[in-house]
């Protein structure tokens, strides 16, 4: 992959607002943001209800994903352009999710909703109508999804990249600082993980830094480019942002997102945990 294949600018989106084969999809942490105004023609996916199984902690299955996209009017040959607030955290999560189920042509709007707003571009309240389709998903591509056992096995052997803020990494905070801190799990990080906050990959306006800058950031943080990599955060959305950088922008092979992330790992019985600012020993 490359920047050209996976990222589009706000200008490109404006030029394609009336292109019927381009589907804009807003995915926000704040699931009400879309309702207050969205890019013209954009549809909404709610990450809590549309993309999560409502009983088990897992994603919707292939049949549910097919039904969802069919009902929302997304076709297999559509170009899907995702954007959202919070510097595209949940849009990147949805991007990874679309890749997981094998959608061919999916892109992120560089800078997401924030860049769009800071540019004072138009947001509308009008809801689009798209004709239903018959969407066919692929089986999950598990080469980009990490589970807990392989994450534990990666300690000391693969690149583990903890993309949370330094205070979460060290165990001083349990959640991002815009959320209440009443989580029940242990604080800290997976031993040997490098702390490269997702935000290092983004400019203040939410756009991604240049490829050269990105490569330098992860190299300096100790990422060994010859090894496989697992990225994690708290629930897998910020690490999707970093997965996007490593896999899609920098073209690194064998990068997985551990969507169980700290809310799973920090609640496991018996696994090692490191506290403080250093990666810690295997």
């Amino acid at each position: 992959m490359s920047r050209e294949n996976s990222l589009v600018s706000a200008q490109w989106v404006e030029e394609n607002l009336d292109n019927p084969k381009v589907v804009l999809i807003e995915v926000d942490e704040d699931t009400t943001a879309y309702d207050k105004g969205h890019i013209k023609g954009a549809i909404k996916l709610d990450w809590t209800t549309d993309l999560q199984d409502q009983v088990r902690r897992d994603f919707v299955n292939k049949a549910q994903f097919e039904a969802l996209l069919s009902e929302r009017g997304v076709a297999n040959d559509d170009t899907v352009v995702l954007y959202g607030g919070n510097n595209n955290w949940f849009a990147a999560y949805a991007y990874w999710y679309f890749k997981l189920y094998g959608h061919q042509d999916v892109k992120l709007l560089d800078g997401g909703r924030k860049k769009w707003e800071l540019d004072s571009r138009e947001l509308v309240g009008e809801l689009p109508s798209r004709e239903a389709t018959s969407y066919t998903a692929q089986e999950q591509d598990l080469s980009i999804r990490a589970f807990r056992d392989e994450t534990v096995a990666a300690i000391g052997t693969q690149n583990l990249v903890d993309v949370r803020s330094p205070d979460e990494f060290a165990g001083r905070l349990l959640a991002p600082a815009h959320l209440p801190q009443e989580q029940a799990q242990r604080a800290g990080h997976i031993p040997t993980a490098a702390n490269v906050p997702w935000s290092k990959a983004a400019n203040d306006d939410g756009t991604f830094r240049s490829d050269d800058e990105l490569k330098e950031i992860y190299t300096e943080a100790g990422v060994d480019w010859s090894k496989d990599t697992i990225a994690y955060c708290r629930i897998g959305e910020r690490s999707s942002h970093t997965w996007f950088v490593l896999k899609e922008l920098l073209g690194q092979d064998n990068v997985k997102n551990y969507d169980g992330s700290w809310t799973e790992y920090g609640s496991l019985v018996g696994v090692p945990i490191a506290l403080g600012d250093e990666p810690g020993e295997a």
Binding site: D30, A33, G85, N86, N87, K114, E117, L118, D119, S120, S165, P166, D167, R172, L173, A175, P176, A177, H178, L179, P180, Q181, E182, P197, S199, D204, D205
Partner: protein, 98 residues
Amino acid sequence: MCGATEGGLSLNGINTDIEAIVQGQVTKGGEPVSTGYVRLLDRTGEFTAEVPVSATGHFRFFAGDGEWTLRTLVPGAEPVDRKVQAAVGSIAEVEIAV
């Protein structure tokens, strides 16, 4: 603690005894800013969190004990930084004019 929600964001359902809350309002020319962002930087200047302001310009973070920096991102205005001291069990109110 009194007046923490006056004209601002509701604290319903939040146990303020265990949170180090930093909150406030962003204004421009004396009027609340309805489109913009506030980010929270840690003591080393590293990004920790970011929120969009509410329709009334309000924002809130759940930080930890210590010194933090708030930085505004508002269309048509230069970013403004404000240092703030947070402590568990208290609410730090910060008004920011851009």
